[in-house]
Symmetry: C2
Subunit: 350 residues, 2 copies
DNA sequence: CAGTCTTTGGAGAGCGCTCTCTGCGGTTCA
DNA sequence: TGAACCGCAGAGAGCGCTCTCCAAAGACTG
């Protein structure tokens, strides 16, 4: 009935909805926010008016009064990389692992009506900027993905009392919940596999030993071997890149030409390590068995395909989202961290 | 002098700044927004007050009156994937290419003070939801990354008149600027390389022929070969995945066992194609030369490493950001699309 | 039937900001 | 000397929403 529904060119406001429905703004607001104290007939009228006017709430206005924003920040924290020739944002973005995290997060956040804002902290200035933004209350919560163990952000975020969840245990302890996979258990799976195949001189291409996850993988692997009665484990450190894996494998092989098994602490490093073995005349898996970690694309891309320890990345990211939602809904509550159980994916390399 | 600076627990407001500086709210606002009509002395006072109170503008309040949001949406549009066992958000996120796009975008958007909101449209419902969100004016602009040629989103976005930039030419024409690489020129580089090496029976592992980019690569390659006097080009279609590349390579090789060169329309497919050749007893590059496309991680991961056509993904993403900024700053202006020139990266496979 | 309680709807303040309008003091020009 | 103008600062409206407070109307009790 064209009650002069709304001004031209602008989206409908709550005022418009109320006028069309013939109620007050307050009542329209109640309907929109699902408050129970509205008569059924009026509720229907308002709902029709909403459809008629194609109304959607203005988030800025709502946010101004509720101090909620219905959005969370996904903060990617990387070590400064000034020295690199390419001045682009660090390697995490080009890591498929990151994409899987995003995917798992969105899957939970989207149905909850939360938008995800992407932020990067890769030097002192950007860290300060990100922190200022977060402190100012522009988001309801933070998911922090940090790639370096000496990152000060976890502690700084803990001080802000903003709901926060970390991807992986932080390098320096912080009073924030995190989600990770049981690294030691994963390493144990790898050890058991290699030993069950009768291998006895087993090496490790470990990750950077300043990262907790890398430490635990190495430590867990050695512990498991010892428990299985296989002593004296040689290892070499890589940097979680393909090239680094190849380099570490070369060193390992040079020192222990007779090895018949290798645990590589990431599939990407495995992608570098396997060709080194092949070029040195070792057949995989006949002469040397290789077990990776992550179950990433790289594991399937490897030739032969890597037997590997799987971490359920998307599920873990989903859990992070749920932990964050809980903190947002129950302010003050700090849910416990969650540790996922890894599994072994058997392919061709061991 | 502790002028009762601000209420406890809440961030400082413009009011607080004005009070501390001893000016009106309007003047403080002028300083913050860089208007020139402020006396230097007052300006300094206000700036000191800003530092003293640790003030940062409330975006919601600002956005409410300016109708700007200082944020843009990065919309990822994927074909519905209900049939997949894993109910997770599609493959684009786990594609390193996507990460490089994000990296290039943020590099431009961050200094411009724009936040980036990540959104996914992967079925009818989410598409409607995303569109409603965008229409409601929650962002100042949109970067659309679409993976399927029959995507209706470009046209729908064009109708909203919201500043928009597309990653790659849309399947169905739309009046929106896009950024892409000159696919034909890239294919020509590949053709020239293979022919220069004396290869004469050259096949193509093409991409999905319903995608414009894939069509143009195939078309450009055949055209270039024809121009070089190398006729009769066999080709097989893959789906831009590693497995698809392997499968297409098998078919190609079965039909043309004597081929001595292959143009693979993406590095990822190359990663699948090369092992097929090797297992069939062909040496790469001695017996068969292989040229890929993209210069992605996969090219380096391949064994031997792929000679490939490089597209400057990060630079292209940066250009997208700049085109978007221009539209935001000059409403109504629709800048022309930008086509980048590819280059050839010579490695070991050809 | 008066008095009390419960449900429901409306009025209106106020979130923090921008921006137009107004006004003041000083300069320039006829 | 008066008018016109300019640079600069303040007053105040209003962006769209939520939410508290209050009033009206009905339901129930003594």
């Amino acid at each position: 009935m064209a009650t002069e529904a709304r001004r031209p060119g602008r989206p409908a406001t709550l005022e418009d909805v109320a006028r069309v429905a013939g109620v007050s703004r307050a009542t329209a607001s109640r309907v929109i926010n699902g408050l129970p104290t509205v008569d059924a007939a009026l509720r229907r009228k308002v709902e029709e008016a909403i459809t008629a006017t194609d109304y959607a709430p203005n988030r800025a206005a709502r946010s101004l009064v509720t101090r909620r924003t219905d959005s969370v920040a996904l903060v990617v924290s990387e070590r400064e990389q000034r020295h690199l020739a390419t001045p682009f944002i660090g390697r995490m973005f080009s890591d498929p692992h990151f994409g899987r995290v995003v995917s798992g997060l969105l899957r939970e956040l989207r149905p909850a009506g939360l938008q995800t804002v992407l932020m990067v902290a890769d030097d002192e200035a950007s860290r300060a900027q990100v922190l200022a933004y977060l402190r100012q209350g522009h988001v309801d919560g933070v998911v922090l993905v940090s790639s370096h163990p000496d990152d000060p952000l976890p502690r700084m975020l803990a001080e802000t009392a903003l709901p926060t969840v970390l991807a992986g245990r932080p390098g320096r302890a912080a009073a924030l919940p995190y989600v990770e996979v049981d690294q030691r258990a994963g390493a144990r799976l790898a050890a058991e596999r290699l030993v069950a195949q009768g291998r006895r001189l087993i090496g490790t291409v470990a990750g950077p030993q300043d990262m907790p996850a890398a430490q635990e993988r190495l430590d867990g692997f050695r512990g498991a071997l010892a428990a299985l009665g296989v002593p004296d484990l040689p290892w070499a450190e890589g940097d979680f890149t393909r090239a680094g894996g190849a380099e570490a494998m070369r060193r390992l092989l040079a020192g222990h030409p007779g090895l018949d098994g290798v645990f590589v602490a990431s599939d990407l490093m495995g992608l570098g390590a396997v060709p080194v073995l092949l070029r040195a005349g070792r057949r995989v898996p006949q002469d040397v068995g290789v077990v990776g970690f992550d179950d990433s694309e790289a594991a399937e891309a490897s030739e032969p395909a890597l037997t590997t320890v799987r971490q359920p990345v998307e599920d873990m990211a989903g859990e992070m989202a749920r932990l964050l939602l809980r903190q947002i809904r129950e302010p003050g509550a700090v849910p416990p961290s969650v540790v996922f159980r890894p599994s072994l994916v058997v392919r061709d390399s061991a």
